[in-house]
Amino acid sequence: MKRLVKALIATFGENIKADENMFPVTFTVPEERFADAAKILKESYAFLCAEWTTDDTDSGMGFSVYACFREEGEYLIVKAELPRDNPQFPSLVKHFVPAYRFERQIQSLMGVIPRGHPDGRPWIKFEDWPLNAWPLRKSFDASIAMMRCEGQYSWLKVEGEGVYEIPVGPVHAGIIEPGHFRFHAVGETIINLEERLGYTHKGIEKRFESMTWETGVKLAGRVSGDTTVAHSIAYSMALESMTHCYVSERAKWLRALFLERERIANHIGDIGAICNDAAFAFMLYQCSRLKETMLAANLRLFGHRFMMDRVIPGGVTVDIDANAKKEILSELDFLKENFESLVRIYEENSSLEDRVSNTGILTSELARELCTVGVVARASGLNVDCRVQSPFPPYDSIRVEAQVLTSGDVHARVWMRVVEIRASIHILRSILKDIPAGDITVNCDAPLPDTTGFAAVEGWRGEIIYWLKSGHIGEINRCMVRDPSSVNWLALEQAIKGNIVPDFPLCNKSFNQSYSGNDL
């Protein structure tokens, strides 16, 4: 028996119902013991991946709250049913820090109250929304424009001699997404950073509920435009897990090909941008040129620069032939050669080293406490990678080495990207060498009513989770999206403490989290 399952059963005994048909295993606990279950899982070294609610009032019930946990490759969901009137559940914040934002979001968008949560301020929902606007409730009509009310967000206050505030955003100086950062600084040193996100809230989770299963993948591909492939794969895999649709081997390998290309392109872009924020523009232009060659090749080979809409439920829409293989291989040679000479320049540049080393340190303890994922977690000593711990095909046959760095500073996050680009180039070569023949699509039926699906995919930022639920006429009843940014944004707030204000852009870029994926 798996470790988390064992821990829960050992404590709860007969009082717990496990639904073995659901993937991952879903335990239903009484509402008042929701936090106890989390505590037991925490003691078994589990991470909290996501926390969300569903509105089951249309099937005559109340609400349900779910929390998804992970330990190594084992995923487990704990569920509690809540009454229709005054739905509440015990907060998990005491045991898992990332619940802090998940639960504020639940309260803001679903109107379900996390009991004992230390912070009642809205999240994603702004203070000028009507108080009783809970978009994720079934009774909420999303097509009607919302009124604007009066209201003021209560920012955290820092007092003391010489403390001053620097508000930044939502419109930033660069070409980036909108978000607000409020620094409290003494001299140049940041003593506190408060993020306020939600500016790009487009109502994606609600929008899913008005879409069909086939068109849903297009929306998934636009949750975060830079991670379009990984989101499409995660959505498709979650849907396929509900319909028992078996995708052909070739399609799986092609998906991995797209995923690794996306990883390389974004990582190269990030390395350039981080160096640029340390005033080393040479690297930005060199890297953006390498990225451009990949994107241009994507357009030639797959018909889209970011490979949007190339992954669909049931497979992929484009195949590669012998010529394409040859082109990708020669592109990889070009990339490898140029990239390695840039890496050497990065390593030998002492003024760059001065900026990136020991800047924005996220300690292993904090990274663990905040349940961080992806590049950020791996640069801080956490060995978390879905491709390693819970390898979805074809990663079960292509070996991905677990790579971890421990210093947790900006340099570690840059170097993690360097390491991953090298690994991805290697993975791409083995995909091209061993890709099996076969069809690229199979028919993917609509799922049966009242089923759920789940998938976790390692995008370039980290683990992306989709949880789907079909309603009683087989429609999309709920689509929960957990972009890696939803947890990693918290880590930035912690990593920046004690750094100087001018280093913030550098730290922020080294995290490079998605605003759109977080705000949904």
Binding site: S143, K202, K206, F282, S514
Partner: protein, 168 residues
């Protein structure tokens, strides 16, 4: 240092020929620009980008027009950090409820005469996000728009062609 120089010389000039042409899919609204304004802006255009709620796809392509291959600066297109220095607002996204006020304020901060370019399907009409409680739809629902560049996302060449439309 020698390695940096060697890499620069090895790379050489990678800039493509200017892709500018009168692309029929890029639409221009009825708002007319004075000829004298066009003359002043030609080859000297300060651009402020505003993300009014996009998915970040359009931002990647706007970044790409700054890369050495498209090199928008050779055409006089320069990105500025403040709307107060800008001639053009380059706006992406469907306008979200939460960004509406910020977008209006940014628009008001730009000195007249000003040009607004809406980038991407979402910027043109709300795209896949449509008009809901959280998304108000296209940019022209909130501020007047001069040029619409469709595409999901539009390619860097499309975006440069959109700038070209200003001067036609």
């Amino acid at each position: 240092m020698i390695k940096i120089l060697a890499q620069i010389f090895r790379t050489g000039i990678v800039t493509d020929k200017s892709p500018q042409f009168d692309d029929p899919k890029i639409k221009v609204s009825g708002i007319k620009l004075d000829e004298s304004v066009k003359k002043c802006f030609r080859r000297s255009l300060s651009v402020r980008h505003v993300d009014a709620g996009s998915c970040n796809g359009c931002e990647l392509e706007i970044h790409a027009i700054n890369n050495p291959v498209y090199n928008c600066e050779r055409l006089g297109i320069h990105f500025t950090a403040s709307p107060r220095f800008a001639d053009v607002l380059l706006v992406t996204g469907p306008v979200t409820k939460n960004m509406e006020i910020a977008l209006r304020r940014t628009y008001d901060a730009v000195a007249s005469p000003k040009i607004v370019i809406a980038v991407g399907d979402c910027g043109c009409n709300g795209g896949i996000f449509g008009e809901t409680y959280a998304s108000l739809g296209g940019i022209d629902k909130v501020i007047p728009v001069n040029v619409f560049i469709p595409g999901c996302p539009p390619t860097p060449a499309d975006i440069l062609n959109g700038f070209y439309k200003i001067f036609l």
